[in-house]
């Protein structure tokens, strides 16, 4: 049965996210899963640098705010010292797949027993809409005014595909929060990424395709459309690894 009660893992606080932004949905799902599994009092979360930096104002659990891209390393330090606690990182695409690429790959490769929630909105939200490593070809951003790919920017990095070859990785799934059906699947994937950690299975990452109306310069409805018609083509949903 669907519950519309606020999860205990989230404070009763308005967020600073823009109308139509996907971060609020993704965080709500994480909060619900933490409640369901009864993990709030044994969870340590890492906040990224990016739009979600203030997540400690929303999550009712211990949080450490990390330097840009370094959450997986910080989380490694916490989890290695407290293997009995539940540690998750919550990161944007710039954080996880540009400045923090090395930390992402090596944390995954070591098979750290962590849960990573990776919000891919194909843009740098917090700094005002510059190109992200996941910006799709042709997408205009404030630093790709002619569309990505015109100026040797390369193509979008597909994180799940990239990480799927690493032996240390336990679970990779790409989901979306652009439709109610997708949200349901996203919730399942997030739950699995947490239960994997409880079962000490190793590194689990859920990539969440997410809307950024403000920096895409689209309406919330058009943004949903962009995820459905553009992003899902470049970033196919599904399970990339499950071991």
């Amino acid at each position: 049965m669907t519950q519309f009660k606020r999860p205990d893992a989230l404070y009763d606080a308005p967020t600073h996210y823009c109308p139509g932004c996907g971060h609020g949905i993704a965080q709500r799902l994480v909060g619900e899963v933490i409640d369901e599994l009864g993990l709030r009092e044994r969870t340590v979360a890492t906040a990224p640098v990016g739009c979600a930096v203030l997540m400690y104002d929303y999550f009712n659990c211990d949080v450490i705010e990390c330097p840009h891209g370094r959450s997986p390393a910080v989380a490694t330090g916490i989890k290695r010292m407290r293997p009995d606690r539940v540690v998750f990182t919550y990161q944007g695409d710039g954080d996880l797949a540009a400045i923090g690429t090395a930390e992402t790959i090596h944390t995954a490769n070591r098979g750290e027993n962590l849960t990573v929630i990776f919000v891919n909105n194909a843009i740098y939200g917090m700094t005002g809409g510059q190109m992200a490593p996941t910006t799709i070809l042709g997408q205009t951003t404030t630093t790709t005014p002619g569309g990505r790919g015109r100026n040797r920017e390369g193509g979008p990095i597909r994180v799940c595909e990239l990480l799927s070859s690493l032996d240390g990785v336990c679970y990779l799934e790409r989901v979306s929060v652009s439709s109610p059906k997708d949200v349901g699947q996203a919730r399942k994937a997030i739950r699995k990424a947490f239960t994997n950690q409880l079962e000490e299975k190793g590194f689990s990452l859920v990539e969440v395709l997410s809307m950024c109306p403000t920096d895409w310069k689209l309406s919330p409805a058009q943004s949903v459309e962009f995820v459905e018609t553009q992003m899902k083509k470049v970033f196919p949903l599904g399970v990339y690894k499950d071991r």
Partner: protein
């Protein structure tokens, strides 16, 4: 190796590791770089043996951020590197200092700038003492000059870090790291009563959630308040923790000042100068931050000149000038890039600088 007291031959890098483990260090993350490779190598087996965790990180950036996380759990933790790697750690060091978390960072300095070389140097003094990373912060910087002192100061470093909730840097160099001396492995004796660590992140069971953060946006004065708190802490550290060795300065006409291995060499030169009838003394700062000004102020009243010896182009000399308030001329002997002074060379410099 047992935990008992013994006299054994050890390399400097290993001495530091053994002291760290005995002082209760439970986490180390680092990345290989000469001349400190014995540190990760030794700790890779010694730390697990003592119930701790060793991680070879993918970079110095990752290593310092693992320390950030480990420090947040309240366990004693440490990283080490040499000059280029310490440069990479600076972002993380700034965050750890801002978050006021305890940890120990060792810099086994090598020649620079750039990739430099793998000979010993003291060219990272500014970086260690004046900031290094962004923002207004201070590390407590300790400069051992013998392996016995390295052993003791490493243990103390963990105590200072916890006591002041501040990162502590052990500023050594490739010679100290690589040299071998017999060392008495004294038992660890804490300097302070342990205080409750009320910042630890371990899940919020039975308490309110805790946040460790360094972003302070609202209200506009929030970050100013954080800075004021830091200033107050740094003032307190400055008033409580200034360590220095004052050697034969009472009647000295020339004061040599040096730290670390250079001080050990200079001490030999001072003794030789004394045997030649020259009135020479040595001031050896042990804490480089906070810098021990008082002995310099005192010496400037009677001595006529200072001579600073460093394996750098002249960095600590600026603090010596500030400390003695330009009352007496301060001369310099040294250069960076992996140059080592011999006792004879320092003696020669002493004779040249000696007041007429």
């Amino acid at each position: 190796m047992s935990t008992q007291t013994a006299k054994i031959l050890m390399k400097g890098n290993e001495v530091m590791c053994e002291a760290a483990v005995r002082a209760g260090c439970k986490f180390f993350a680092g990345y290989p770089i000469t001349p400190q490779n014995e540190v990760p190598e030794y700790l890779s087996w010694r730390l697990p043996q003592a119930g701790g965790v060793f991680v070879q990180a993918e970079s110095e950036i990752a290593a310092i951020n693992m320390i950030f996380g480990a420090a947040a759990t309240g366990f004693r933790c440490m990283t080490s590197s040499s000059s280029p790697g310490i440069s990479l750690k600076q972002e993380g060091i700034s965050y750890i200092a801002a978050a006021e978390l305890p940890c120990v960072i060792a810099n086994v300095q090598r020649g620079g700038p750039g990739l430099g070389n793998i000979r010993a140097a003291q060219s990272d003094y500014f970086q260690a003492v004046k900031g290094g990373g962004h923002g207004d912060y201070h590390l407590i910087v300790l400069a051992p000059s013998t392996l016995t002192e390295l052993y003791a100061l490493t243990m103390n470093a963990f105590d200072y870090a916890d006591h002041y909730r501040n990162p502590v840097m052990i500023l050594m160099d490739g010679i100290l790291g690589q040299m071998v001396e017999p060392i008495v492995t004294e038992e660890y004796r804490p300097l302070f009563e342990p205080t409750e660590k009320d910042y630890i992140l371990d899940g919020c069971k039975g308490r309110k959630p805790r946040i460790i953060k360094t972003l302070h946006l609202q209200p506009a004065e929030a970050l100013v308040e954080v800075n004021r708190r830091l200033v107050a802490k740094y003032k307190r550290i400055s008033s409580e923790l200034k360590l220095c060795e004052d050697f034969q300065t009472d009647d000295a006409r020339l004061i040599v000042s040096a730290y670390g291995i250079t001080a050990q060499v200079s001490k030999g030169a001072v003794l030789q100068a004394r045997s030649k009838g020259l009135k020479v003394g040595l001031i050896r700062p042990i804490t480089l931050w906070p810098f021990p000004e008082a002995p310099f102020v005192k010496a400037a009243k009677t001595a006529e000149k200072f001579l600073v010896v460093e394996m750098s182009n002249g960095q600590m000399i600026e603090d010596v000038r500030l400390a003695e308030q330009c009352l007496r001329p301060v001369e310099f002997f040294g250069v960076g890039g992996g140059w080592y002074p011999t006792t004879d060379e320092v003696l020669d410099a002493i004779e040249k600088s000696y007041p007429a």
